[in-house]
């Protein structure tokens, strides 16, 4: 007798086929990458293997007759407040296979989401709201270090700068695209991100998987990442963008390196990453040349030397308990921007325990880091880029009011491309063609579509941000930065409000 696979006894989803509508065209079989839909040759009919369904909704979306409904599996366990199906099923999986639970995207546990407890101000009577349809409304932002003061001189009755300012990066909207590696996501999504970044006047981030040859032309809108695995890293790559991001950690899995399962390492990816086809690309937990803050300084300046001080160097960390002190050290080590990735930050593959239990929420981290850098008088020497769980333009506004200069979005950009958050990116079977480089699956999301959707999303958000700024009575984004007056808390404790430096609504 073979050992039973307990996990298979209790599927998460249930595929309901409406037989009066089904025309047995077998489209569902072709669409599903997990093998849920099966053709029974003998009975000339369709069958479902519910245990394999991940709830991605590809089949129901593509079914020409709308004959499919995907729902949570109706058969329940006896209710238990502690031993919920989530824990029971995870135990089955590990008992079956003895491995580490793997998942994708960001933290799925319902920790308090501070964005949802902050409300935004608007003008009434004493102060006129400004209408972005009729008045200029400015979102232009500069990433990088700025001097404390401007020195001017007068020449022939005109003022001019005494000393040119150090290089900075100009973005036209305070939203950039977070590091998502080629390999974790498809080349088409990378192409879409790059084009959207160019047309929006912002930046996208290569992630740690190197830069595909076809994307060098978008250099002015590119941040190249240097992570602990150093995949695809060479001098042309470092020189390709306008900034280099040293990735120390990421919000979805603080304390460990990136994972690209071998299933996703195709020929093209192997070339770009400079690793063999089919090999797991597991970045080490630390950078093996950074065992302390002075080593980080070494790497920052090694990169600056290599690129002749023409590129800015960002340092990305996961928001952890001592994030403020760490960020301060990073700025003093010479980073031109600090990227903080919060608890809710996404990933293409992460151990479930890490994704759901490690790190702190981004809102608290932004406020703490901003405060610390101000207290130490070094806030102007860097920019704060916040990421992890930014779901809408109001989240962007709140993040900036809490002290960020700009935000990264990752998951939101993928959802714009059709992602349904089934959280199976690590399988490489993404039926929507996003988190896969399988040549057949990639075709499901052409680069033009990815570009258009991402561009539209950010364009819409930018307009909403302008509307909200106008409602607050300000007409440029710099007047929102750190402006706690524009936020009020609803349902937060004294302590939380102190950390966020906001008053309660009604105060």
């Amino acid at each position: 007798m073979s050992t039973p696979i307990f996990a298979n006894f209790h599927p998460d989803f249930y595929v309901e086929r409406l037989w009066d509508k089904c025309i047995k065209c077998k489209r569902c079989i072709r669409e599903c990458t997990y093998g849920v839909h099966i053709w029974d040759e003998k009975k000339k009919t369709l069958k479902e293997d519910h245990t394999k369904c991940v709830g991605c909704h590809r089949c129901s979306a593509m079914c020409p007759t709308n004959a499919l409904i995907i729902r949570r599996h109706p058969s329940d366990f006896r209710e238990h407040a502690l031993w919920t199906p989530w824990f029971i099923k995870n135990i089955y999986k590990q008992a079956d296979q003895g491995g580490v639970l793997l998942t994708s995207t960001g933290c799925a546990l319902p920790y308090k989401n501070y964005f949802d407890h902050l409300v935004i101000d608007a003008c009434q009577v004493t102060n006129p709201p400004i209408d972005p349809l009729r008045e200029p409304m400015e979102l232009r932002t500069f990433i990088g270090p700025k001097p404390e003061a401007v020195e001017v001189e007068e020449v022939n009755g005109r003022f001019r700068l005494k000393k040119k300012l150090p290089p900075v990066i100009r973005i036209e909207v305070p939203i950039m695209f977070a590091g998502m590696s080629y390999g974790a996501i498809s080349l088409h999504v990378h192409q879409g991100l790059a084009r959207a970044a160019r047309d929006l006047g912002t930046l996208y981030n290569t992630g740690e998987g190197g830069l595909h040859a076809s994307l060098y032309e978008y250099g002015a809108n590119t941040i190249v990442q240097c992570a602990s695995g150093r995949f695809g890293l060479h001098i042309d790559y470092l020189n390709a963008g306008v900034a280099i991001e040293i990735k120390i950690g990421q919000g979805a899995k603080p304390g460990i390196g990136g994972h690209l399962p071998g299933e996703k390492v195709t020929e093209e990816i192997s070339k770009t990453r400079m690793i063999p086809v089919g090999s797991d690309a597991l970045s080490p937990a630390p950078h093996h040349d950074i065992y302390s803050i002075e080593d980080l300084r070494g790497l920052i300046f090694a990169l600056k030397e290599a690129t002749e001080y023409k590129k800015l160097v960002f340092v990305k960390i996961a928001a952890v308990h001592n994030v403020a002190a760490i960020a301060s050290g990073i700025v003093r080590a010479g980073a031109d921007a600090v990227v903080i990735d919060g608890l809710k930050g996404g990933t293409g593959a992460s151990p479930t325990m890490f994704r759901d239990n490690i790190g702190i929420p981004i809102e608290l981290a932004i406020s703490a880091v901003d405060k610390r850098l101000r207290e130490e008088g070094i806030r102007h020497r860097t920019s704060i880029i916040a990421s992890g769980g930014i779901r809408c333009s109001a989240d962007v506004v709140k993040a900036i009011a809490l002290g960020a200069d700009a935000v990264y979005i990752g998951t939101a950009a993928l959802i714009a491309c059709g992602c349904t958050m089934c959280q199976r990116c690590h399988t490489g079977k993404c039926p929507w063609g996003i988190a896969t480089n399988n040549p057949e699956l990639m075709k499901r999301l052409p680069p033009e579509v990815a570009y258009e959707k991402i561009y539209n999303l950010v364009k819409g958000w930018a307009h909403e941000i302008k509307e909200m700024l106008g409602a607050m009575g300000i007409n440029s984004i710099e007047s929102l930065k750190g402006n706690r007056d524009k936020l009020r808390a609803v349902g937060l404790t004294r302590e939380e409000m102190e950390i966020l430096e906001v008053k309660h609504a009604g105060e």
Partner: protein, 399 residues
């Protein structure tokens, strides 16, 4: 009542007036009273005030501290503090009249002082360190001595302000008995704060005085920015922020006044993008570095210093500001009526454009301790020191 730290940021609409004589002729207090009282409807009796320059010629080299005290004890504490930290040359109660409608006013005294440096003599470079000393002293008193508050601290100038309509405050402080070469005045319409004498305008820092109509929506950003440089916004009024920004930009960072105005009301990026390269670099740098000093939201501000008066609107002109002159006499106000009531036949009347400062400085060497922040002296066609692009509005010209 005086727990100023717990106060919410004030929100108010207002009327403002300012007068300057470029040759330093003394202007009687009656004039500014008349101008501000003409804008009676712009206030609601919860605050009014006056700033006067040139009223203490006999103490012109001393910092004149106007101190407001809740009670005798708090003033005594201030006195004790001042005697420890400064040389007090002269002190007296500020003369006041009884006004029926003003109930239980605080106590007012003025002190004429010089800093007392402890230990080694501090290099006094252009009086910079003396000024720094005074700024810190004033902040310390305001923060630490409860029930006492320094309402002005410049040389040869003083501020008189309180809760009431402008005519009542003028009567109370006997404004009609003073003569000054620069006056500013304010009539306040607060919407959310009960009247507090310290919350009235003008607001001052050293010899900078500011009257302000508007609400600075960027207050939270400005406050945090200023904290970086050690300014503590204790009063929670927008106007205080303006004073500190001016002090930071002009006195500490040495920016010319014209550019300081451009920092507070910056040109739009669409305008900057059209500039020639030199200007584009300059204005981009100003916006990048001083983003935290941008005053965003509706405002019309008059600010004065020993030697000049400046009118400035926000960059989309969401509050009124009108300027007029006759010869060397320049008048600015929220309404043209406030000007014409004291200057019935002006040579020119115009409404300055959004974000374009009107800077009127006195002729050189007109008054003692004169200051000039106008780095580029006006060219011929700008002999009258009207700066950058202001134009007469035909709508307002008299025929």
């Amino acid at each position: 009542m005086w727990n100023i730290y717990l106060r919410a940021k004030e929100i108010s609409g207002c009327g403002i007036s300012g007068i300057i004589h470029r040759k330093g002729e003394l202007i009687p207090g009656e004039m500014i009273i008349k101008s501000i009282c003409c804008q009676y409807e712009r206030g609601n009796g919860l605050g009014a005030g006056f700033a006067a320059y040139g009223i203490y010629p006999e103490f012109k080299d001393f910092y004149a501290l106007h101190v407001m005290g809740q009670c005798r004890e708090s003033l005594e504490r201030v006195e004790e503090f001042l005697h420890k930290r400064t040389y007090v040359s002269f002190q007296e109660p500020i003369p006041t009249r009884r006004v029926k409608t003003i109930k239980n006013p605080p106590l007012f005294k003025r002190y004429f002082v010089r800093p007392k440096f402890e230990g080694e003599i501090v290099e006094a470079e252009d009086g910079q360190s003396e000024d720094d000393f005074m700024v810190n002293l004033v902040m310390e008193i305001n923060e630490k001595i409860s029930g006492a508050y320094v309402i002005s601290s410049g040389k040869n100038m003083g501020v008189f302000k309180g809760v009431g309509f402008p005519d009542e405050i003028a009567e109370f402080f006997r404004i009609d008995e003073y003569q000054a070469y620069i006056w500013t005045a304010h009539n306040r319409f607060p919407t959310n704060t009960p009247g507090w004498w310290g919350g009235a305008h003008p607001f001052t820092l050293l010899d900078w005085s500011i009257v302000h109509n508007g609400e600075i929506s960027s207050y939270g950003t400005n406050k945090r920015y200023l904290e970086l440089f050690g300014y503590k916004c204790t009063l929670l009024t927008d106007t205080e922020v303006v004073a500190y920004i001016l002090d930071l930009l002009i006195r500490r960072h040495g920016l010319p006044l014209e550019l300081a105005c451009k920092v507070m009301a910056p040109p739009f990026w669409i305008e900057i993008d059209e500039m020639d390269e030199e200007d584009r670099e300059l204005y981009t740098a100003l916006r990048m570095v001083y983003g935290g000093a941008v005053l965003n939201g509706p405002f019309a501000i008059l600010f004065a210093y020993n030697g000049g008066l400046v009118g400035l609107n926000d960059r989309v002109k969401l509050r009124p500001l009108v300027v007029a002159n006759k010869g060397d006499l320049y008048v600015m106000g929220s309404e043209e009526a406030a000007i014409r009531t004291i200057l019935p036949d002006p040579e020119r009347v115009w409404a300055p454009k959004a974000g374009e400062p009107v800077i009127v400085e006195m002729e050189e060497a007109t008054i003692p301790n004169q200051k000039s922040y106008l780095k580029v002296r006006p060219k011929e066609e700008r002999e009258d020191a009207l700066r950058i692009g202001s134009y007469p509005l035909s709508l307002f010209t008299s025929k």
